[in-house]
Subunit: 339 residues, 2 copies
Amino acid sequence: MARKRRGAGRVTLAEVAASAGVSTMTVSRFFNSPDKVSPAQRERIAQVVAETGYVPNQAAGGLASAHNRIVGMVVPNISGPIFAPTIQAFSDTLGEHGYQVLLASSYFSAEQEERAVRAFLGWAPAALVVTSHFHTEATERMLEQAALPVLETWDYRPERQPIQIGFSHYEVGVLAAEAVHARGYARPAFVLNSATGDLSALERCQGFTEILAQKGVDVLVHTPAPDLAPFEAGEQAMQQLHAGATPVDLIFFANDNLAAGGLLAAQHAGIRVPEQCAVLGFGDYPFARMLMPRLTTIRPPASAIGENAARWILAVADGQVPEAPLERLTCEVIVRDSL
Amino acid sequence: MARKRRGAGRVTLAEVAASAGVSTMTVSRFFNSPDKVSPAQRERIAQVVAETGYVPNQAAGGLASAHNRIVGMVVPNISGPIFAPTIQAFSDTLGEHGYQVLLASSYFSAEQEERAVRAFLGWAPAALVVTSHFHTEATERMLEQAALPVLETWDYRPERQPIQIGFSHYEVGVLAAEAVHARGYARPAFVLNSATGDLSALERCQGFTEILAQKGVDVLVHTPAPDLAPFEAGEQAMQQLHAGATPVDLIFFANDNLAAGGLLAAQHAGIRVPEQCAVLGFGDYPFARMLMPRLTTIRPPASAIGENAARWILAVADGQVPEAPLERLTCEVIVRDSL
DNA sequence: TTGTAGGCGTTATCAT
DNA sequence: ATGATAACGCCTACAA
């Protein structure tokens, strides 16, 4: 094992202190409350720090002070276009304040999330951010025991305890239902996400179908083959929903990836969008406006979620008690050409 | 009041040891080398751990052992479609082995990168991953001094010292030049990235223009207004390159976002793609195949870079000396309809 | 197989 | 304003 022996190489606080002819505490103060160090010492220390390239060891500092400038974030995935802006805003905002972000993906699996949470807990983070409210029991227990701020993002359910920063997926369904009903569509369909475990999509579906049912409109719910790539799932859905004798006249896809597949399949099948079949997406992914026809979709507050979560954590770390423990954000229908 | 100020609340190794009636070392071994603990003790400890929900403190462990299971990664951005697959693969591969990833964005700024590297160094990571070979002097010095494995990704220059996992951007330009020349285009153009600081795009441009110059073909290089959104930059580029008397017959865009803008502008302006003006992108972003016409582009090994970087780090942590310190990967031209 | 002693690099606390 | 000392939670080294 090429394992380093202890303390190999790195400059330490003690060494800086010795070089500067002061105690370790003075150097420590130089970093954490410079105003409590006399200007003369300050200059002397600054010089030694510059010469040696000393960087304080955060792990040691955190151990001693029980205050780690690190937070964990679990998202369903990093590489999709949905959560990326949240991660970006979260990481940037916290980074500006000297905090570091630990990242992990759950792939919509509560078990993977549990593993990630357990791993994060080992770092004694200042806070933990998770996505949605679907956790394993073990996760719930760990989070409770850990006694650290937990933020649930991309969701909003007033009845839940943890801090929430997001929106109601059910309300998104309602929003869509109203837009659809106002335009007089008679045979709408909802296409679920091919990624199994996306329970939030189910909530959108529920809101959509329930409200339309109240208005006397039945929604055809289509479930793609499990774990089909979303684009292909969208294509197949469009084909299948137009194979029968009474084709649908609108499809609300669980996300824009599916919708893009649907749009392309329509083009190939000669189905005119939106005349013959309108298409509504969810996510407002960057490519939505580049498709033909341009995709009408619902835009979630992705960046705002990340930034607000970060600000909440910073406020708490700063000793403040943010006035709004539940933060409800809203989605917006972006009307383009497909609906 | 004997209120604890320091280790508020968390269960510690010592407490677990006391409850199980063993020494702290036995509990430590229970986690790090279970086979060295007798089955009887193992069971006893496992029970206490389960009851208390104890999770080892990684920071303390790292401090004591000088072996942190944490690595830092700096990418230009998280939310774009380019680096996301690299981050995803990197994080997933390391996560499977109990490592955590610290993430930060540089936005193509060497100064931001420097800040991120300095912050990471404070955590004494097992390794550091950066993007490309453009760093400030201070960064280079820090990395040298820190004496930890540094991986440069998304780039490959045989003459450089650090571990590299990526490809030559100049070669990408060569690849494109050959594809373009073989098809007989006479008035090609290159559109640079609107994001200032994307020096790798310049290298692609260089390879493209130099090789075509050798074949007697001049390349018109177009520089978008700085920091214009890429999609709009692409639109403007397409318009401007067709405004003159002698329009170009092919545009190689610095990335697929720009190319998508170009494609749409062409459609609006009635420019037929590829007959009147062919379009070549870079990145093979997920939406490339959803555009009309489907975008011909160059696919970089984004996921492979992340996974290989992770595997390299794991191998080194395991005491192995990977045989290939420089790992050259290749890009591929994905021929669709726009070229 | 198990335990003891000491230290990893930093900060809280209490003196001066 | 500065310093001495004792933690923080864990692991290496060595001993039994």
